[in-house]
């Protein structure tokens, strides 16, 4: 009996339920600690989607042959995305959305917008002394502007939320107009510029943070979009003027094109360069595996998963010849002036072709790539699609962003940076805006500056009007290939209805085993005709989300 009583008194603990969490920090602690406030701000930058998730946006457009049979990316094989299934391309966290790269950015965007708004409100409230509070606020506003830009380029005008709501508040969200959103972005950026340094050198420990120049660069891109046909149906010249001015503001800030185009996409944070204005850095503890995801099977990589990021012939055909001539005419026939030889298709191409795309006979890391099939079909090269489904069917492999030295395996974490905005794009933004304003000479000049870096001849002065526009568009396609730009460019130019309905093609390479002579045969891989509709220039909002918001209108046409 006494034993029992002693036992009970020892064992009974009145405060047994008073437990504090062992793996988290309280709200109050965060906002009263400079380190934690900075940590909160750092996490906000993750709002901006980089391109090194499993699926690059290239396969959602005509840069690659999307052969993904599943996992969300298949919605863009034949443009089968609808309001009912689009949210499978979204999600809040990287884990939830490991494959789709936040193409359906709605949830993720607003999720981070609230985080930014919480931050801005806390900064306003707090009496905690912070040395560089204004700078921190400016950085958060840059992130907010970026989020809005990512939203409007996908959805058009979206609801503007500038405060952090609490659970239980009743708000009926409705879309603001596209122009109102642009104005909101402009205001955030303009005010942020005032509190930020112009730039950090790429070797600076702060490189990668928002800067005044990053704000200007984002403004340039935003205003270019705002002036584009999709968002500027009346072709309001003032919008082009603003776009031109925004780009011009960066021309004298001390940036310059990095001399080696191929090398540029193998740089990490800390490597010296003057071209990239804003980028996402990586470290071995916070890195990516993009090379393994996108390279072909040779180093055990996945070719974009099922070889689904294999560059398309559609893209390859758009690389000029070194003489500056496009290999094909507008009607698809060989341009006689170009010297293009269909049985020697990789010869004498714009150097950016070799820098971006790996093809049959390319020597890479000491290996000669072989994409051929014997004439009788019984033998094939190691990199042929016949060998494994992880060799892209197109017989091309992405070379941009691929490390030429160091380890190349799944156990390596890669640190190659993702360039969000670089000077070449600003030149092209400027050229495009100037062209639309009628200043064709300046347009040619800036396009030619981009071409000059790789030794391509300048655009001839004879190039003008619609032909010039096409070359400006094409220059952007080539220069910014695989940088997650093409998909949105063809939409804002309103040429997607043509581009995205074209078949995805490639060249099959047949080798005569006795002579070693190769034969190139063009094949259609994917018939996309009739799958792309005008309404697809903007993404639909998920059906559930429309149901939750009676005032929210669906994207037109959906």
């Amino acid at each position: 009996m006494p034993v029992l009583l002693i036992l009970s008194s020892i064992s009974c603990d009145r405060n047994i339920l008073d437990i504090s969490p062992q793996d988290r920090i309280s709200d109050a602690a965060v906002w009263n600690d400079e380190v934690l406030i900075n940590a909160y701000l750092a996490s906000l930058y993750n709002a901006i989607p980089h391109g090194f998730f499993i699926h690059m946006y290239s396969k959602y457009t005509d840069e690659a042959y999307n052969s993904a049979p599943c996992c969300c990316a298949e919605l863009f094989v034949l443009n089968t995305y609808t309001p009912d299934n689009i949210s499978s391309m979204g999600g809040l966290s990287t884990e939830e959305n490991w494959c789709t790269n936040f193409l359906y950015y709605w949830d993720r965007g607003y999720f981070y917008l609230r985080k930014v708004n919480v931050f801005l409100e806390k900064m306003e409230e707090t009496e905690f002394e912070l040395e560089d509070k204004e700078k921190l606020i400016a950085e958060a506003r840059f992130v907010r502007a970026y989020i809005y830009f990512e939203l409007i380029k996908r959805f058009g005008g979206v609801p503007i939320v500038a405060q952090a709501y609490e659970l239980g508040e009743e708000v009926e969200f409705e879309r603001s107009s596209f122009d109102e959103c642009v104005a909101f972005i402009e205001q955030d950026l303009t005010e942020a510029i005032a509190s930020l340094p112009d730039r950090y050198l790429s070797t600076d420990p702060n490189y990668g943070r928002a800067t005044a120049d990053a704000c200007r660069a984002l403004l340039s891109r935003t205003l270019l979009y705002a002036a584009s046909p999709l968002f500027n149906p009346t072709n309001d010249q003032q919008k082009w003027q603003k776009a031109a001015d925004a780009a011009e503001a960066l021309l004298d800030k001390g940036y310059s094109l990095y001399p080696d185009y191929q090398e540029l996409f193998k740089l990490s944070h800390g490597d010296a360069q003057d071209e990239v204005i804003f980028s996402r850095g990586f470290t071995t503890s916070n890195g990516h595996q993009a090379p393994m995801h996108n390279f072909n099977r040779r180093y055990e990589a996945y070719g974009g998963w099922w070889g689904s990021n294999g560059p398309s012939q559609n893209l390859v055909d758009d690389y000029d010849m070194v003489n500056g001539q496009p290999p094909f005419l507008e009607n698809g026939t060989v341009n006689p002036a170009s010297g293009y030889d269909p049985q020697n298709p990789f010869l004498n191409r714009d150097p950016r072709f070799e820098a971006t795309i790996l093809h049959d006979e390319t020597v890479f890391r000491g290996d000669t790539f072989e994409m051929w099939i014997s004439e009788d079909g019984t033998q094939w090269g190691y990199d042929s699609y016949k060998n494994t489904g992880d060799n892209p069917r197109t017989n091309y492999v992405l070379k941009k962003f691929m490390p030429t030295e160091g380890d190349f395996n799944w156990q390596t974490i890669f640190t190659i940076q993702w360039p969000y905005i670089r000077l070449a794009e600003i030149y092209l933004n400027y050229a495009e805006a100037k062209f639309e304003l009628g200043d064709e000479a300046t347009a040619r000049e800036y396009v030619s500056m981009v071409r000059a870096r790789v030794g391509m001849p300048p655009l001839p002065e004879s190039l003008t009007g619609e032909d010039l526009r096409r070359r400006i568009y094409n220059e952007r396609r080539i220069e910014l290939a695989f940088e997650n730009q093409r998909m949105f460019d063809v939409r804002r130019w309103k040429i997607a209805i043509n581009i995205e309905n074209r078949p995805i093609r490639t060249l099959d390479i047949y080798k005569d085993m006795s002579t070693g002579i190769k034969r190139y045969v063009e094949v259609v891989l994917l018939d996309k005709s009739g799958t792309y509709e005008e309404k697809m220039n903007l993404l639909p909002i998920a059906t559930d989300e429309i149901q939750r918001n009676p005032e929210l209108t669906q994207t037109p046409g959906w």
Binding site: I25, L36, P159, L167, Y207, G281, T388, D527, E545
Partner: protein
């Protein structure tokens, strides 16, 4: 005292006064036991403390009899004290049932409680105890969703789904992060209490140690208040009993293989299907189409003339063993003196995996030591210690059945000369024994210490205390090394030895869980005026639970010789470590009162006042009461004239129970480290908050109402037990995900007490027991039905009324309605379809008639993978030394979707089932085709691939033979029985014919449950 006086004048010259106590097998005094001098009518009954006193002559025999127990006879010699322990008569209906914090006789039971004895369970040779429970207990739903040795995944539910899972991403078994204890919480899981402590190792207990398993289904679970809403499974392990030592040895050896491996396409069919798909992708050109696989290649796949370049690989056949083994050894010793009782048990199970060249292996050691000692007449103490060693070994690369079933049949598995080929991704599962391993040593130790004190001054008053400490240590070593393989070189004709270029990696993870539970109870039991039986119990219990883990990682080992962390590279980039901790606690008070009048009118009240740390201060405690009543009509005079009625009872119960199975800390606004970013060349730490706080979060409440009828007629020829129930679940912890716009940008919403679900159903048991000559047999059939209905879940009205989830059972899916396929262009042209639909695709019905096929044409089915009806049928036969048991188990009203069938002919070169390929639409098979084309287009899940998961299976069969006594007594043995038994022997499935019908909804590429055929011997001496 009264009986003693009455009989005191019966005195003989050579007689003496005999006294003693009669207890049950748990040492609890039995009240009202008849003590009679054999051959006379003289006798007495035991009092409220189980004590009796009787005058009996030397040489006479005392017989002790009590309803529900086997009678005992003792010859009277010189002794004056005869203490007797009565053993329950398990063959009778009136047995003892373990209920929360105590036992009750079945006759006076008022709750809806099912029970199965340990003996029944051991008839199944399954390694996993939980699978042996399927079909045994009405109301308990057990589905084995996969069959991985040592980590089989089971859905265990009592009366189906009564609440909702607010984590829609939850997939049964997808335990993404073993280091996050809250990663996977199924809020519908019942509470499992093993020897009085909530414990989670039900599946890994030694079946030989089990005395009984009881399931509390109704309000009687309110004694487990807050955690009892989903029902409670109570497991009681065996203990020693007074008497001579009994030693029991058993050994069995079994062979096993997966129940059903889907038949996959051969290389030629696979190649044809792939070509068909590619032809579709290229726009169905009439000419100019170059197939991926040439006709010549397909011919070579078919005729098998070139097994190197044109193989026809049957991957499942190459990888899955024809059979593998399973052996079990059990040793058990038990016995005791009048003061001490003991049980020692040891079990060993050794299960081999079903894959060739794969380290998968499972070993389990169970050791139990239980001792009960009467220190004094009134104080007894006991200890029950159980150690389980689980050694699980798997390959370092997870082999799933996807990698086996879906492997491309045009790739070589093994070259004709025996060398192993790389397969796709160099992921040929036959290579996996070369690439390291993933070993887990999971060693839980469960201890229980009890003390019982019968207060000597107050009859019927007893104090019980128990202290339980469970310590579980788990150490996982994941070691991955490069794999060598051979690849045929087309140019040289040689087999090149290759090696994968991954570095050697090692990850050691240490996890530790501790649970301590203290429990103190006071109970009082008395009988007033012989007819009024009253008992009461009240107690307090505290539980605390802690978990911590640490992990170390290194890569780039110089050599694979030493798989230890220190042997790895010391470069900081090659190292990583992680760790974390969590804890939680419960504090509660509970009690029970029973009253009965002449065992005829029964009344019970239970309560629990429960505090859970999952909720914030002020919301932590909840009060959960339940009341139940019974009326034994068979004890009424007006029915005693009907001799064919041996037992007839009506019962009912009503109560409130709680549920707290949601993640912790939802009431706190807090931040975690993570979501890092990079500035310059270094990592910048981030913080993030993953959930909005809900400061009002509290218990889910379940209100349960049950009515039951129990009858036993013609002395066992017919018995029945019928229960109907209704449950209303409210305050269900549910996230407002459905109605809250994402524009708010909230992180994951917290659980709020908003959902409402109703559940109703019935359970019916029928049994028949008879003896004809030397043959005695019994038939026990049970069936149960449970259907839930969502009453409120904060659903935004969907576009079409037929899509609402509210009003449907929990887990009902949204599917497109289909009507076959579009066989011809005319059919396609004449019916609305989406732009991507072509001839050969599934015909989606335009449900809302708007001539547009979109998400609005989906409808909510009433059907979920959780069966509404489950049934079991047990047949027992006994003839002389032979015994035969057949046990059938089945289910209906369950539906299973199979998306794997939709992925057919796609670019990933995954194989698919012959079932899918048979009679598919092709350009040459249009009109009569019943399956869609290769690379078919579906806008989402369709009911085309939704199947009725009805099945009946011969779950267990056992044939035993007990050697004749004459024979074994010569070799000094008490009992020898040889047996052969089997599990999952025959299966009949209504629609799901290409795979095991019990596999989880979604796909057919799971490790199927096992068919086991087992031979064994049991020796007692």
């Amino acid at each position: 005292m009264l009986p003693q006086l009455l009989f005191s004048f019966w005195s003989f010259s050579q007689s003496s006064i005999i006294q003693g106590t009669v207890t049950d097998e748990n040492g609890i005094p039995l009240v009202g036991v008849n003590v009679v001098i054999q051959g006379t009518t003289h006798g007495t009954i035991t009092d409220a403390n189980g004590n009796y006193q009787i005058e009996a002559g030397v040489g006479s025999t005392l017989t002790f009899s009590f309803v529900g127990y086997l009678s005992e006879s003792v010859a009277v010699g010189a002794q004056t004290v005869i203490n007797i322990t009565l053993v329950p008569d398990v063959t009778q209906l009136e047995d003892v049932v373990v209920v929360g914090y105590g036992t009750q006789r079945k006759e006076t039971l008022t709750g809806s409680i099912s029970k199965v004895d340990g003996e029944e369970i051991t008839k199944s040779p399954s390694v996993n105890l939980s699978t042996s429970l399927a079909g045994k207990l009405p109301g308990l739903i057990v589905n084995q969703r996969d069959g991985w040795p040592g980590r089989e995944f089971l859905d265990i539910l009592i009366r189906g789904n009564a609440t909702m899972d607010s984590d829609p991403d939850y997939e049964p078994g997808d335990d993404d992060d073993p280091n996050d204890p809250f990663d996977v919480i199924n809020p519908n899981e019942p509470l499992v209490v093993i020897d009085g402590v909530p414990r989670d190792n039900l599946s890994r207990l030694n079946p030989e140690d089990i005395e009984s398993v009881t399931v509390l289904k109704d309000a009687s679970a309110a004694i487990y208040g807050a955690r009892g809403a989903n029902g409670v499974i109570l497991v009681t392990t065996k203990k020693g009993s007074q008497g001579a030592s009994v030693f029991n040895f058993s050994y069995s050896y079994a062979i096993h293989k997966p129940t059903k491996i889907p038949e996959m396409m051969d290389a030629a069919t696979f190649a044809e299907a792939y070509n068909e798909a590619e032809w579709n992708r290229q726009g169905r050109p009439d000419t100019g189409y170059t197939p991926f696989f040439t006709d010549e290649a397909i011919q070579r796949y078919r005729d098998g003339t070139d097994p190197i370049l044109y193989p026809n690989t049957d991957w499942p056949g190459e990888i899955i063993k024809d059979y593998s083994y399973l052996q079990k050894v059990n040793l058990q010793a038990k016995g005791g003196s009048d003061k001490t009782r003991y049980l020692l048990s040891f079990g060993f199970t050794d299960q081999d995996g079903n894959l060739k060249n794969n380290p998968t292996h499972y070993k389990q050691f169970n050791a139990r030591a239980r001792i009960d000692v009467d220190l004094t007449k009134s104080l007894s103490v006991g200890a029950n210690m159980n150690a389980i060693f689980n050694d699980r070994t798997y390959a370092s690369q997870p082999v799933d059945f996807v990698g086996i079933l879906q492997s491309n049949p045009t790739l070589v598995a093994v070259y004709p000369n025996g060398l192993i080929a790389p397969g796709r991704f160099r992921n040929n599962p036959l290579l996996f024994d070369r690439g390291g391993y993933d070993k887990t040593e999971d060693y839980p130790l469960y201890t229980t210490f009890t003390a019982t004190y019968e207060v000597p001054f107050v009859k019927g008053l007893a104090l019980d205390a128990s202290y339980n400490y469970d310590l579980r240590n788990e150490f996982q070593k994941w070691y991955r090394t490069p794999i060598y393989y051979h690849e045929y070189n087309v140019e040289t004709g040689e087999y090149d030895r290759m090696i994968t270029d991954n570095p050697i990696e090692l990850r050691d993870t240490y996890r530790k869980w501790t649970t301590s539970l203290f429990n103190f109870r006071v109970s009082y039991k008395t009988t007033i005026n012989r007819d009024h039986n009253i008992s009461a119990m009240a107690g307090i219990e505290q539980q605390s639970w802690k978990f911590s883990w640490a992990q170390a990682y290194r890569k780039n080992f110089v050599s694979p010789a030493i798989p230890q962390i220190d042997a790895g590279s010391t470069d900081p980039e090659d190292k990583d470590n992680r760790g974390g901790a969590a804890e939680t606690a419960y504090n509660n008070y509970f009690g029970r009162m029973n009253y009965d009048f002449k065992r005829k009118y029964l009344l019970e009240f239970v309560f629990r006042y429960d505090g859970s740390q999952v909720f914030p201060e002020g919301k932590r405690y909840g009060f959960f009461p339940a009341v139940s009543a019974g009326w034994r009509l068979s004890e009424e005079k007006f029915l005693t004239n009907l001799p064919f009625i041996s037992e007839l009872k009506l019962r009912g119960s009503y109560g409130e129970l709680g549920n707290d199975r949601v993640p912790q800390w939802q009431y706190l606004q807090s931040f975690q480290f993570g979501d890092n970013y990079v500035f310059g060349g270094s990592d910048a730490p981030g913080v993030f908050s993953s959930v909005l706080p809900n400061t009002n979060i509290t218990w889910e409440v379940s209100k349960k109402l049950d009515f039951g009828l129990v009858a036993e007629l013609w002395d066992g020829l017919l018995g029945t037990d019928l229960t109907v129930f209704q449950e209303k679940r409210s305050n269900i912890l549910w996230r407002r995900n459905l109605s809250v716009s994402h524009v708010f940008g909230f992180p994951a919403l917290p659980d709020e007490n908003i959902g409402k679900v109703d559940n109703h159903g019935f359970e019916l048991v029928l049994n028949h027991r008879n003896t004809v000559g030397d043959l005695s047999y019994s038939i026990i059939a049970n069936t149960s039905f449970a259907r839930s209905e969502i009453i409120f879940m904060d659903e935004v009205p969907p576009a079409e009324p037929y899509q609402t989830e509210t009003g449907h059972p929990v887990g009902s899916g949204l599917y497109y309605k289909t009507d076959g396929i579009f066989n011809t262009q005319e059919e396609l042209d004449s019916y609305p379809h989406s732009g991507n639909t072509r001839v050969g695709d599934i015909k989606i019905l335009d449900l809302n008639g708007d001539s547009v096929i979109n998400g609005n044409d989906r409808y909510r089915t009433n059907q979920s993978p959780i069966p509404e009806y489950v049934f079991g049928l047990t047949l027992n036969f006994q003839y002389k030394g032979f015994d035969l048991t057949l046990f059938f188990q089945g289910q209906t009203n369950a539906y299973s979707y199979d998306y794997t069938l939709t992925e057919f002919g796609e670019q990933d070169l995954d194989n698919n089932a012959v079932y899918r390929a048979t009679n598919r639409w092709t350009r040459y098979n249009q009109e009569g085709a019943t399956m869609p084309r290769a690379d078919s287009y579906e806008p989402g899940a369709t009911d085309f691939f939704l199947y009725d998961a009805t099945f009946v299976r011969l779950k267990n069969a056992e044939l035993g033979y007990r050697l004749p006594d004459k024979l074994i007594s010569r070799i000094k043995l008490k009992d020898v029985r040889v047996f052969v038994n089997g599990t999952n022997l025959l299966t009949w499935a209504k629609e799901i014919t290409w795979k095991d019908p019990e596999l989880r909804s979604g796909d057919f590429t799971e490790y199927p449950p096992l068919r086991i055929i087992n031979f064994g011997v049991n020796v007692e001496f």
